[in-house]
């Protein structure tokens, strides 16, 4: 506050009195904040002081050195190389990646499920909307933990052991005879053209393989695979090219009033290059299967090839996707319903067809309503990955807040680091949301 304004409001003339600390609007806020600050600092000081005393009593210190000590435990699911000789720090990173991978795929699947269920729930079809209501209410009103545990228990206790997929000599012999009636089949069979095998050890899925890999190199310890890079480039290139095509179409429409047909060009641009690249590198799927001898009799005790997904991962992913999907369905439904009838009517009155109305009027507005709560659901999903504890999934909580914590006994450091990591992930997602919100905010007075 400047001197001039201070003197002209008259209060300054009276000089300072003690009661002005409380009754003068200029000082009142400062007084309150000083009191709050002192109380807050006392609280912090009290907590820190207690912590120091407690640490001293247990003869401990605050030391993050354990992160560079040999971990000595195995993690079955790892996205980067890791053995039990690696450090705790590396175990933490493996755990963090496991958290992120569940969160990433969970968000994708939950969105697909949620959008489908949300739209279907609005359908006029009585049966379908009823089924979707049952799905949504069923999942929303039962704890997520129950779904995780049920899916885990059911998959790991009811699925067949790998050797039930085996083809024995007796079976081969039975196929050899002409009579199909006496054929014997393995007790269990794979799903989806042999690409997926559900067993009590985990789920085996086909591995994507290439015949002619493009090689790779390493920059600063991070391996780079040229094949993956080529595929990524092809995808990004096609998306960009498609955008250019649509922009051109729009420009033509604005110039001439006629929109050129684009759908087949879009399809070609979007899928052509990636198919070419995949064909060029000889892409194929390696199916999970037993090694066989010349007669087709299975050898060994387990599948050769294929990626093994742990049940903990599958259960967590499926439960998170279905649970969050139910919430997203509600958000999508509410978002579409929130666009007032008036908007649709106005659009119809202007002569726009229902499809155009959806694309140009309803969706842009509905997205503005849908996206913020959608992102907060992503946030919830990410935090809920920590429930992997129920099925011993070794995510960030399982490594840093679980085995590492128990082995090293450094509760304070591990918990602080873990909370900080979760907080950073959450804040990043929130920042994304705020960025989006400010970019689509309606321009209003």
């Amino acid at each position: 506050m400047t001197l001039a304004t201070g003197s002209s409001t008259g209060a300054a003339k009276e000089g300072f009195r003690l009661s002005m600390l409380v009754y003068d609007t200029r000082f009142r806020a400062i007084t309150i904040q000083v009191v709050v600050l002192i109380l807050f600092l006392l609280l912090v000081g009290w907590l820190v002081d207690n912590t120091i005393q407690n640490l001293a009593a247990k003869d401990k210190d605050i030391n993050f050195g354990f992160l560079w000590v040999r971990a000595g435990y195995d993690i079955e699911q790892r996205l980067i190389p890791y053995t039990n000789d690696s450090t705790h720090g590396r175990a933490v990173i493996v755990g963090l990646l496991n958290t992120l991978v569940v969160a990433f795929f969970g968000c994708i699947f939950a969105t697909i499920i949620g959008v489908l269920a949300g739209v279907l729930r609005l359908s006029k079809n009585w049966l379908v909307s009823g089924l979707m209501t049952i799905y949504v209410e069923g999942f929303r009103n039962v704890p997520l933990l129950l779904w995780i545990i049920v899916i885990f228990v059911v998959t790991s206790e009811t699925q067949p052991a790998p050797n039930e997929f085996k083809v024995t000599q007796a079976m081969v012999d039975s196929y050899a005879t002409e009579d199909p009636a006496d054929d014997i089949y393995p007790a269990a069979s794979k799903l989806l053209f042999g690409t997926i095998a559900l067993t009590n050890r985990g789920t085996y899925i086909a591995t994507p393989m290439v015949e002619r890999p493009l090689g790779g190199s390493e920059i600063g310890g991070v391996p780079i695979n040229y094949t993956v890079l080529a595929v990524l480039l092809a995808v990004i290139g096609s998306v960009l090219a498609n955008r250019a095509l649509l922009r051109r179409a729009k420009a033509v429409q604005e110039d001439t009033g006629r929109r050129p047909t684009t759908w087949w060009k879009s399809l070609l641009i979007l899928f052509g290059p990636i198919i070419v690249v995949l064909l060029a590198v000889g892409f194929h799927l390696q199916l999970p299967a037993f090694a066989t001898d010349e007669n087709g009799v299975s050898k060994g005790f387990n599948f050769q090839g294929g990626i093994l997904l742990q049940h903990s991962f599958t259960a967590l992913l499926v439960a998170l996707s279905l649970y969050t999907g139910a919430f997203i369905a509600e958000i999508v439904r509410a978002g579409i319903l929130a666009i007032s009838r008036g908007q649709t009517e106005a659009s119809f009155a202007l002569g726009l067809r229902p499809g155009r109305t959806m694309n140009l009027i309803i969706l842009p507005q509905a997205l503005r309503v849908i996206i913020p709560p959608l992102i907060s659901q992503y946030l919830n999903l990410t935090k809920n990955t920590s429930l992997g504890i129920a099925v011993s999934y070794l995510d960030l909580r399982g490594t840093l807040g679980g085995i590492t914590l128990n082995q090293t006994g450094r509760e304070l450091e591990c918990m602080l680091l873990m909370m900080l990591t979760y907080l950073i992930i959450s804040l990043l997602i929130s920042a994304l949301m705020n960025f989006y919100n400010s970019s689509v905010k309606l321009k209003e007075r």
Partner: protein, 255 residues
């Protein structure tokens, strides 16, 4: 109109504003306002939208803070001292454009709330006063309804009664009729005219020029945050001096 001139205006000063300025951020909304209101005066403030007229009367009970100059209401200067602010607010009644009745309270509770909590009047006494004023604005039968069940005109009359229940010495009206349907404007204006005839000091931001001619003893025209012209209503309407006033009057009375 002859009636209006008969109303008493005393020499006692109710509001004194001297060289008052206000900014919103860097925007200078009120520029060097000087005005004096005598007790019993009825002043109509008009002007184009965004001219600062609402801000001016909102400064008088400190809903907005002025940054320089003096505002003295009933002998109490509005400073940052909370006690002065409380004193002024309990002496000055205000009626808003959108009524701002409390929707969770009945009409009667709306009227008795402030007398009970601010003036510390016993509940029964407050209810008697409230019924008296509700009778005066001609809606005693609605006392136990909720604001949402009333029409706009009725709500605005309740809002006037609510202010009157605090027995204010000055009443401020911030565009009291501009959110109302035409047939409801009259019932509110009638109430205000009646109030004026009883000698209440009134400051009214309004575009109702008929009201101005009927009861005001001064009309103030504001534009771009300053007082451009003020005069007796007859003179103001028949013989405006400044070009801005002429333009404004031609726009507002032109059709």
């Amino acid at each position: 109109m002859a009636e209006a001139q008969k109303m008493q205006v005393s020499d006692e000063i109710a509001i004194e504003i001297s060289s008052m300025n206000k900014w919103y951020g860097t925007f200078h909304v009120l520029r060097d306002i000087n005005m004096t209101v005598q007790r019993g005066e009825r002043i109509v403030i008009c002007g184009p939208s965004g001219s600062g007229k609402s801000t001016l009367i909102r400064c008088i009970n400190r809903l907005e803070e002025h940054q320089s100059g003096h505002i003295i209401v009933d002998g109490t200067e509005l400073t940052s001292d909370l006690k002065n602010i409380d004193k002024v607010r309990s002496e000055v009644g205000m009626v808003f454009q959108h009524f701002n009745l409390f929707p969770h309270l009945t009409i009667l509770e709306n009227c008795t709330l402030a007398p009970i909590w601010v003036r510390k009047i016993p509940k029964r006494e407050a209810e008697e006063t409230a019924m008296h004023f509700l009778q005066k604005v001609k809606i005693p039968e609605q006392a136990n309804k909720y604001p949402g069940q009333l029409s706009g005109g009725q709500q605005q009359r309740v809002a006037i009664a609510r202010s009157l229940c605090m027995k204010p010495r000055i009443m401020l009206f911030d565009e009291p009729t501009s959110a109302l349907d035409p047939e409801m404007i009259k019932e509110v204006l009638d109430t205000m005219i009646e109030l004026a005839e009883e000698g209440m000091t009134m400051l009214c931001v309004t575009h109702e020029m008929g009201f101005a001619q009927a009861v005001a003893n001064r009309v103030i025209f504001m534009d771009q945050g300053q007082i451009v012209e003020q005069n007796e209503p007859k003179e103001f309407f028949n013989n405006p001096q400044s070009d801005r006033t002429k333009l404004f009057l031609s726009q507002i009375l032109g059709h």
